[in-house]
Amino acid sequence: MRRVRTLPLMALLSLLVASALLAGCTTMPAAAPVEQAAATEAAPEEAAAPAEAAAGAALAPTAGGFPSKAIQIMAPANPGGGWDTTARLLAQTLTESGISPVPVEVFNVPGAGGTIGLAQLVSQNAGDPYTMMMMGRVMVGSILTNQSPVTLAETTPLARLTAEYEIIVVPANSPYQTMADLVAAFQADPKSIAWAGGSAGGTDHILVGQIAKAVGVAPEGVNYIAYSGGGEAAAAILGGQVAAGVSGVGEWADFIASGEMRPLAVSSAERLGALPDVPTLTESGVDVVLLNWRGVVGPPNLNEEDKAWLIAALTAANESEQWQEILATNGWDDVFQTGDDFAATLAEDNATISTVLKEIGLIE
């Protein structure tokens, strides 16, 4: 009798379990009876079918039969950040423009500036061509500050994809009209300038450290306020809580466009097409150029054939119209580099960043 009474509940619970699981099945089309099925579970011969913007034909699998199942991109951060966004846009491009014959999915391994994801990639996915990891220049820094036992030297660099320059802004009602004004005030009383940016040791912090060095302010005098994510920092700048803010160019484009933030300088070597009125740091008398990039690395011990396939797929994605449009929308630069060139960049950045981190006292 008792069991009979609980039957409807059990049925309901099963339903809930099932629906939650359905929610999780990333390639699960049944919950939404719409034609996106074609895009997400494209079998090789269906992939070229004109979904929406299916440009080219799918890459043929390698002689070794790779890939024969879904490829995963790990975003080594919580959903919602820069790596996660880039990973998802890349997965979307690879799948929707018909480059990959198999679905490409994104999963998140959050924590510690990506070093937890990195450790997992190296320890659990060695030789597994089905897992790639999104990463960027910031990870080079967090490996150093976190004293991560695993470094990028153990991974297989695949491709550098996007780049974003940094921008320095002040609130609309700030007394500082130009970078020179800000630098003058900074030199006069370093601590009076509170710089808002991302977490300590990240690209924003490193840029401020480099500016301080270039204008002759002692690194320990820098009053850097770390915020978790560009949104919180944006709120602090819009509310006039801090003197200046540092971030990637794209992040605050809207606030700059609507006049709520005043851009003072960008960290590129030459002025940016999107912001022709904003001088570079170098023009403003601060000799600093900084490029923040994002890229994709593979696990250790990939065989050459699979590696070549993945690089070919990423190259095709980079050349696709869809990706170029994504770059334009987000204000990202195309700094595509593959394999060994990318590895050289990694080594070079590692040297620069560890010098700056030592100077600003984050590592010994």
Binding site: G24, C25, M28, A30, K69, A70, V102, F107, L362
Partner: protein, 160 residues
Amino acid sequence: MRAIRWVALVIVLFGAFYLWGALQIRESTTYAAVGPRFMPNAIGIGIVLSGVWLFAFPGAPPAPDSPEAASLDWLSIGLMLGLVAVYIALFRVAGYVLATTLLLWGGRANFRRPPSSRARRRDCGGAVGDNLLRLFAIIAHQPAASPVGLLRVRLEGVVL
């Protein structure tokens, strides 16, 4: 001495451990008005004080219906703990299906000891059914080649 006073001593020890942990934090040379040790130190001192406070004022003796006075089946708790530990250890080795079925069955069975053979059979069947339902939902709509579902448990790690 009452049990709660021992608990208070453990809290004091924990506070001391926490303060030791706070000492291990590197104070960087970067300008920071208040450094990374400030709050941990304050919390550590607070924990020690709360232990001392509890030791001094342990309150009225526990009422007969309070959890402090409940008589506990330590064997059952130990089994439950062991079961979860085994589950975690097995999760990657034996795979999702075996491990989870074991946990579901063991979790049920542990509440009924000594179980009748009927209850045991029912638990076993229930666990398998329950788990099969989940597994079905995970793989039902997946093309054979994409082995990932909600839990992103790789099917190659699953021993069916």
